[in-house]
């Protein structure tokens, strides 16, 4: 199931690399030195109690949050900054936007654009950001909506879709930009239990097609079956990481053990 880590060449550049990442909100320190590597085509699942900093870390990766300390790279490039000599320069807004365009993100509460149809949601960014021609964008959008099983819902507004359908449209919207990395921030937490399966299936298909994914979730089944790398976070640091099957079978750290025993 999981990809064999030894299958990667040693020269493989990590898709995401974090070194001692710190993030504060006022006086509250949310990330206290996160070190992490995500290899291409890997599905990294992040677990941990709420408030452990998983979502914040995810938002740092596409610079929705600015980090206060440490270094963070996506595909070999610093996030939000440019290094010249030993000086860091903040990136301009359009440069940040250009980098965000290469990273797809799916939110817990979908955040679909309510004034646009499902199709409108999917074609908006390619047309406005990449300058894709409308006909091409529509063709690609229909293909993507088909992939997530919503080919017949193209002309429906989000309010008329179920939560699970909305989240799948959100996945299609993120994929429309042909991202090299997909971030999922608790994609099934706001869904009715019977709707979770469809969303997880869409994500599983994506993983099988080789998408690099970082998934913050509480779905243990998904973590075990689809995840190739598991990261357990608590109180702003990475406590333990490894292959999901191994971490689930014998967690080495006390806090991981306590968390898993409460959730499984």
């Amino acid at each position: 199931m999981g990809t064999d880590p030894s299958g990667f060449a040693a020269t493989d550049q990590p898709m995401v690399k974090a070194e001692n990442v710190h993030k504060r909100f006022g006086r509250l320190e949310v990330l206290k030195g996160v070190d992490l590597e995500v290899k291409p085509r890997e599905v990294t699942v992040m677990l941990g109690p709420s408030g452990s900093g998983k979502s914040t870390f995810l938002r740092c990766i596409n610079h929705l949050e600015k980090i206060n300390g440490g270094r963070l790279w996506v595909d070999g490039e610093l996030v939000g900054y440019r290094q010249q000599g030993d000086k860091l320069h903040e990136l301009k807004e359009n440069e940040v936007a250009r980098k965000r365009a290469e990273i797809g993100m799916v939110f817990q509460r979908f955040n679909l654009f309510p004034h646009m149809t499902a199709l409108g949601n999917v074609i908006e960014a390619p047309m406005r950001v990449k300058g894709t021609r409308k006909a091409d964008a529509i063709e690609r959008a229909r293909e993507l909506l088909g992939q997530v099983g919503l080919a017949d819902k193209a002309d429906v507004y989000p309010a008329q879709l179920s939560g699970g359908q909305q989240q799948r449209v959100a996945i299609a919207r993120a994929l429309a930009m042909d991202p090299k990395l997909m971030l999922f921030d608790e994609p099934t937490s706001a869904l009715d239990p019977e709707l979770v399966g469809d969303v997880l299936d869409a994500m599983r298909k994506l993983a099988e097609n080789g998408m690099t994914m970082i998934v913050v979730t509480h779905e243990m089944g998904f973590a075990r079956e689809v995840g190739s790398h598991l990261v357990f976070m608590d109180q702003g640091t990475v406590v333990e990481e490894g292959r999901p099957s191994e971490v689930f079978a014998n967690p080495r750290h006390e806090r991981t053990r306590a968390f898993l025993s409460r959730i499984l």
């Binding site: 993100m105 955040n111 908006e124 960014a125 950001v129 507004y157 919207r173």
Partner: protein
């Protein structure tokens, strides 16, 4: 499981329709009687009081200068609202900008134009000709700097005579539009702030910049909140167009009706005519507002195209 399945539906009789004595509303009957009486008294006054001079009023309220006044009122309303809304959006965006100079300037603008009464503003604009006979655009303090170095230095780009630029109409229009922009800025700001911050995040995560996000994602959603008060503003503007009479603008509706009243010494019928004209024009605007609200509420509520603009979302659970 099997028990419930074997119990056929026909054995259960269809539920009996509820028959109950409805709650009586004696208060409604009393209210209806009182109101009917008051309306009858009002109609009695309209019909019997000779001072209304209905014949004279209808003969005069459609005369060409009055119609011209109606046209002016509508034109000023439309132009002032177009300028006011456009400028208001710009000021609202400035106000929300992270740049402190821009947001400060927007605050000062709003503060000034909301503080000065419209009628004062209009009379002031009408008298701008007193300040300068000519308006010129160029570098500030050019003559003073020239004198400092003892040369004749002038850096004016172009100039116009005050009387050709600031006619009464333009002065009035400007006063109304600038003051409207201040109110619209506050309405637009409230609208923008009512949009879920998750929308902006989602747009940014897709790689959209600030401009595109504002234009394509935030403003269209803010419109749903902005439109109803803007409709009210438009109606208020139509009524405030009567203030042009004090600039003065002579081909304005209220000015014309009053002029007829003054000339014929029959003041009251012309005031009633003014009421009727503004009533008629406002009613037309209200119809327009209804359709606008319906358009911008699309995608909200399960009905998609229902006209439920004033209803808060969220309460709409399952629709039909």
């Amino acid at each position: 499981m099997t028990e419930t399945a074997t119990r056929p539906a026909e054995r259960v009789p269809p539920p009996e329709t509820v028959k109950a004595v409805p709650v009586r509303h004696p208060g409604r009957w009393v209210a209806a009687a009182v109101i009917a009486l008051l309306v009858a008294m009002f109609v009695h006054m309209l019909v019997t009081n000779k001072a209304f001079q209905w014949r004279f009023m209808f003969d005069n309220m459609f005369r060409p200068p009055v119609i011209e006044g109606v046209r002016t009122a509508l034109l000023v309303t439309i132009l002032a609202m177009i300028i006011g809304v456009t400028l208001g959006i710009v000021i609202a965006v400035m106000r929300l900008s992270p740049n402190p100079i821009l947001s400060g300037a927007a605050w000062v603008y709003t503060w000034f134009f909301r503080a000065v009464p419209r009628i004062v503003l209009l009379v002031l604009f009408g008298n701008l000709g007193i300040l300068y006979a000519r308006y010129e655009v160029g570098l500030p303090f050019d003559h003073q700097i020239g004198n400092l170095f003892g040369i004749d230095f002038s850096a004016r780009i172009f100039g116009l005579d005050a009387r050709t630029v600031v006619t009464g109409f333009v002065a009035g229009l400007l006063g109304l539009a600038l003051s409207e922009a201040a109110y619209m800025a506050e309405i637009v700001r409230a609208g923008i702030q009512s949009v879920d911050p998750g929308q902006q995040e989602a747009a940014q995560a897709c790689g959209m910049g600030r401009g595109v996000t504002l234009r394509r994602i935030v403003l269209p959603q803010a419109m749903r909140v902005i439109i109803p008060p803007t409709g009210n503003e438009t109606i208020a503007m139509l009524k405030d167009s009567a203030l042009l009479a004090f600039v003065p603008v002579t081909n304005e509706l209220f000015f014309q009706l009053q002029a007829i009243g003054a000339r014929t010494f029959r003041v009251f019928p012309m005031l009633v005519a003014a009421c009727l004209w503004y009533l008629a024009m406002t009613s037309v605007l209200m119809i327009g507002q209804y359709f606008l609200e319906r358009y911008f509420s699309r995608g909200f509520g399960t009905g998609g195209r229902q006209a439920g603009a004033r209803m808060r979302v969220g309460s709409v659970g399952h629709g039909h």
